[in-house]
């Protein structure tokens, strides 16, 4: 069973249980908060991809080219259009508070399962002094830290337009082609000592 199918199945349980709510009472908390958080995140990712696709449709198409200037200008134009289409975007708009907590727990678990040397090696790969914020450009002169393959397998799969990246102690959602940061989950990566 895939992660998505598993999460969906879990989410159907609280829906069935709440079919006959008692009048006047506040709705019960979801029986599967993790599944709900993941589903919510996936919906917000899908909404972001819609914006990305709308932006793509409004800028000239990029084909393979001998001219790197064209590659650069396409990324910049796409980034500008995305910013224009979500001018009020703020931190947490895609991750969401509930999923941020799920993410922090998964990352912490993954890091605790690694040897000290492995954790240290991971942290050493991180680019130094990169400022991140929603709608900011990820600086192309800084390396992109390799995302640990094992951790990646534990997180909800992203569409090809987006990717997770670790920057400092944060996880960012990076728009791959526009090179724009779609969202930031701050302080979810434990320090090597924690």
């Amino acid at each position: 069973m895939t992660l998505s199918a598993f999460v969906l199945a879990l989410c159907l349980v609280p829906l069935a249980a709440s079919a006959d709510p008692v009048q006047g009472q506040s709705p019960p908390a979801p029986a599967n908060p993790i599944g709900t958080a993941v589903l919510g995140f996936k919906e917000r990712v899908a909404a972001y991809v819609k914006v990305h696709n709308e932006a793509e449709a409004k800028v000239p198409k990029l084909k393979e080219t001998n001219d790197p200037a064209k590659v650069q200008s396409h990324a910049a134009a796409l980034a500008d259009m995305i910013r224009k289409l979500r001018p009020d975007a703020k931190e947490g708009d895609v991750f969401g508070e509930a999923f941020r907590a799920v993410l922090a727990r998964e990352v912490r678990r993954d890091f605790l399962g690694r040897s000290a040397a492995d954790r240290k090696a991971l942290m050493e790969e991180l680019p130094p002094k990169v400022k991140v914020g929603v709608n900011m450009k990820y600086p192309t002169d800084k390396p992109l830290a390799t995302f640990p393959a094992r951790l990646l397998q534990k997180l909800p799969e992203l569409p090809p337009e987006l990717e997770y990246r670790i920057v400092d102690r944060h996880i960012v959602l990076r728009d791959v082609t526009a090179n724009v940061i779609a969202d930031v989950a701050r302080n979810v990566v434990p320090t090597t000592s924690s």
């Binding site: 192309t140 390396p143 992109l144 951790l151």
Partner: protein, 320 residues
């Protein structure tokens, strides 16, 4: 038993020039032009110990990794590659990532790729790139890298199929793609190349254990014979790991001097005292390899046999 790391002693270029000049040109296994180029290179302070191909009709290519600094050593390796081609006429080049370090403005592509390899590009030698952690994934749209707009891709040359992977981000989609493409390949040789080494004796980075857990089972299942990686700024040939030969060749511009662990049991041969690159020849079931320094010294050479194809799944009739 401690492993041995090869540290090349400096070789006087003048002596080599005299030796080359003194050898009779008639009867030489190398073409005249190649020998003339070797003499010229030696006189200019460089050697050319490139080995000529073993077979007349074979697939030949070069391998460079961590190349895109735009600094002098990259240009020197570029020149040496061109020299090598006079003896060993390779038809394409694999790039193991970190193709453009630092800024990625148009002038950076010129300084860190087009100019260092200008002579080869003018000869229409194609380069096939994979992405490193210093590369903007949008490099996939840069035509001279032949990535077809994709972070991971495959292409066929002769009896070999090459799989260029993006080891920076091994997500589910890429894993499924790797499995699909490997299982569909009927080629005698399956060769993977990507930035991060699954096995390495580097003290700075070392083996990428996470990535190994994901990729190695697929490589074994579908009969990958050879893997090329970079990331570590040196040359290392690993002892075969579960039957697969792994090369790290990430020293085409940067160097992490003395970084190969002297206590590693995995090293078959290591070279971490100068920049390096590789030349590969595939002739039927044998792959011949050579690694050279930027001064043209032979660092390592040998051969690898193709791994036997994995057993075919039982047919329906057999299952019944």
């Amino acid at each position: 038993m401690p492993t041995r790391v090869l540290r090349m002693p400096p070789r006087p270029a003048l002596l080599l020039a005299i030796l080359l000049g003194a050898l009779p040109l008639i009867g030489s296994p190398q073409p005249m032009a190649a020998r003339a180029a070797a003499i010229q290179a030696a006189a200019a302070g460089a050697a050319n110990a490139t080995l000529a191909p073993h077979a007349e009709k074979s697939l030949r290519f070069a391998v460079i990794g961590d190349s895109g600094t735009g600094e002098k050593p990259q240009y020197q390796v570029g020149e040496q590659l061109t020299e090598s081609r006079t003896v060993f006429p390779f038809e394409f080049v694999l790039m193991l990532g970190d193709n453009i370090y630092g800024g990625e403005r148009p002038q950076d592509y010129s300084k860190k790729f087009e100019r260092p390899y200008q002579a080869l590009l003018e000869l229409k030698i194609p380069f096939y790139a994979s992405l490193g952690n210093h590369d903007d994934p949008n490099q996939r749209f840069y035509k001279p890298f032949n990535m077809d707009g994709k972070r991971f891709y495959t292409f066929e040359k002769g009896d070999a199929r090459f799989f260029a992977l993006d080891s920076n981000y091994m997500d589910q989609a890429q894993q499924e793609w790797v499995e699909k493409e490997l299982s569909a390949s009927k080629n005698k040789w399956k060769i993977a190349f990507f930035h991060h080494p699954l096995y390495s004796s580097g003290e700075k980075h070392g083996s990428q254990v996470d990535l190994r857990a994901t990729l190695e089972p697929l490589f074994l299942k579908y009969g990958v014979s050879v893997v090329f990686s970079g990331h570590e700024h040196f040359y290392e040939r690993l002892k075969p790991q579960n039957g697969i030969t792994y090369f790290t060749s990430g020293g085409a511009a940067k160097l992490r001097e003395g970084n190969i662990s002297s206590t590693s049991e995995m090293t078959a041969k290591g070279f971490d005292t100068d920049r390096s690159y590789m030349l590969i020849e595939i002739a039927d079931k044998t792959m011949y390899f050579q690694a050279l320094s930027r001064k043209g010294e032979l660092v390592d050479s040998g051969s690898v046999e193709v791994v036997k194809s994995p057993p075919a799944p039982p047919s329906e009739a057999a299952v019944r």
